[in-house]
Amino acid sequence: METLADLVAAEDVLLFVNAAITSTGQREFHSGAGEQRMSLDFLHAYMLGNYRDLYAATLALNINDHNAALIVRRLLESAKEATPEQRGTEGRLIARRLAALPPPRVYRLFRGLRRAGVNNRRTRAIIRDWLAARPDPAFDAVKYRGAVKSAARHAHLRLDGDLGPFLFEPADRRSEGFRSPLLEAWRRAHYEQSAVYDLPYTVAEGFAAKHGIDRELFLERIAPRLTRLERLRLQGAARAAGADSVRADLATMPLTRLAAYVLSLPLDERAARRAELTAALRTAARRAAGARAGTWGRVAAVLDDSFSSFGSTRKRRRPLAVALGCHFLLEALAEEFIPLWLSGGVDPLLRYPYGPTPLGERVLDALEHRPDRLLIVSDGWDNAPPGLAGEVLRVWRTRLDPGHRTGVTHLNPVYDADGFDVRRLAPGVPTAGVRDAEDLPTLVEFARFAEGRTGLAELRAHLDARVRHFLDGPGPDEPLPEGP
């Protein structure tokens, strides 16, 4: 028998997971960065105080990097409140999650720990192990010099080889070279222009400015050193500067990132490169769908391209990018796919944020197609008229489809700071937060907990399974085998 406390706990965990997936503490369309951060901070403090083990377990889910770093930090700050077995699990979860995070974010976390004076034995061990597992310490030392230095200092590390002198000895007082080629390149780059091109782009850029290297020449020659994202970000500017060798390979881009890139292009360019962009999006979607491709039957999707899907200047067109990603992923997952954009447009490539949010009417249009599944990707600000989507879905569920022939799921890419959750459309419709369109299959599965029909015991079992899979499995991006 479920107690009231269990139901509350299950609800709290779902709420927190939704927040941790969607909110990045940045400005959104309807709320500012301050509101987002304050609201999120409260949730973290609340979860840590009340459900410490569940709080740690969320590290195994597809929460965003911002929240993963926050959770790790809070767990380490309050290490002494944990029981010995909690510490064991937490330690492994943290180590696993840190391994999956992008290095700049981990270094930022370490700096935050140093600034907050968190320096318990566990923290030091975690920093030590993480640094030891880095594939190329010399590369990190060059690219994140200050951060590595501060982390080494904070964890009382003894660095081997050239790293110690590289980080801590003044560069100008050194006369002999380093044995590591990258460190040596860095030393020579101070006075030799050709050595600049052996360094990572962010470091080389500083030296290029120092030597006054022409931008076109610099971009042309640094091109092989660019990371995938740097390439994507720079290619427009590089083409304008005349450096044609900076070309992003769209085929390897993850789906949502690619969708955001497509939406950043002017409409004319999108139309001109239609074949290339569509092919890239389809490839990314097929990769994300994996073995599940074509297994979802008849799927209808209501996709939000109203003005609020612009997001904010900090998260430009993020909600729209998620919707566009979902469009192509669902196309890959479904046997038959019926996309319905709120604006009434039919060309997914040419969507831009404009107009109101008449969710109710679009949901009606979708239900008319009698789909097996209906997905709604929207920020939930139904305003033309307000609340109609909720009413339509409620009446549909209670009067017209009590047997759940059509499964309805609402995916919401925006955290509502005032409500401490993503905005819901109707109580009977499960709502899940979504950050990347690639997570859609796992989220749809997870959303059934939000319907209120499954209790804490089942949720705990699901989380335990996810934690086990996360700790043993190859990485957090791998999908869980079907079933809880």
Partner: protein, 387 residues
Amino acid sequence: MTTTTTLELTGLTALPAQTWGAIRLVPLVRDEPIADLRLDARLYGDDLAAVALDRRTAYYAYVPHGFVATWTADGTPAAAYGTRLRREDERRADPPPCVSLRFHRRMARRVDRDRVRFLPLHLALEGYLALHFGGPAVVWEEWSHRAVSHGLSPRVEQAYTGAEVAGLGDALRVFEIHPGQCGVLLYAADALAAAFVVPHPDDYRALHPSLLHDLYGELVHHYATLHGPVPDFRARIADGAVSSLAGLRAEAARQRAEWADFHATALAGGLLEEAYQVQRVRRMGPFALSRFLPPFHRRTEQHIGETITHEDGRLAYLKTFRLSEHQVRRGHLLTRLAAADWNLGAAAGLLGVTPAQLALRIEAAGFGALLRQDVLDHYRAEARRDR
């Protein structure tokens, strides 16, 4: 030509409101835009190219009252004095009649030369009232100099720019403009603050942010500050009424129709059901520009404004200001004065007071500058003697 009539939003449909805090914005949508009357291209600022495309179809242009732009040849900013209706080819020939603004150096720097914005507050309002009552333009010119350099003295009332109205900036920012939207009704705590209608959706998109530079009475400011969030009018569908998907759709459509009806009668009733004195200012082609005055009933909702109507009855342009209680009282005073042909003695007779009392009342109402200094001094002395 003056007639008495009510205001009608012909050709416009009210769509569901969007709320933010205490502000409620009701979009007005046209089925078919009016293409042969467009915002003067110069007011588009950087977007001039967008209008240039339409030049072949745009036959007439209008300049809303109080919009500041570089009209004059020497590049100083000036404000349109009253809404203007012009033939498109007039545009190149002459600037519209306007009031040049003599800014201090400090203020002048702040003015982006080609940015569309409104007059300084009190200027706009006083000018508006004076304009409506045919107050002598010479005096108005004189005021603009005095008021800009010293502020209107004595200052008897306050008006607020939209930027000062709590939550209005955010409400306008998060408002999702409908396709085909040509107007908006703005409510603060469900009191109608302003109505704004333009002929074409492109004009609306260009002018939507200018609502923030618009001016609002103290009532609007206080309501927006003190009132909590207003509730949404959420859709409700009764369970029993629906047995099929088509039934559900019919119910949803009914919600829409009911809202438009409710809005016209309950929310906008104060604006639409009042009898206005309408004065036609100019007629051009199928369009007529008029100004309207409320009956100045004290302690009720009173709006003044300007309209451009097409001869087939469609409302092409509308802009209203909601008067505060002070302004209604002053409007009342001015109507009496105007009714007496600006003859002090006759007006005093109409109001049942002595001319001296009336003169002091005019001064107290902030229109002291309408009277010659020696005349005013004479009445002051008289009042002092009587005391």
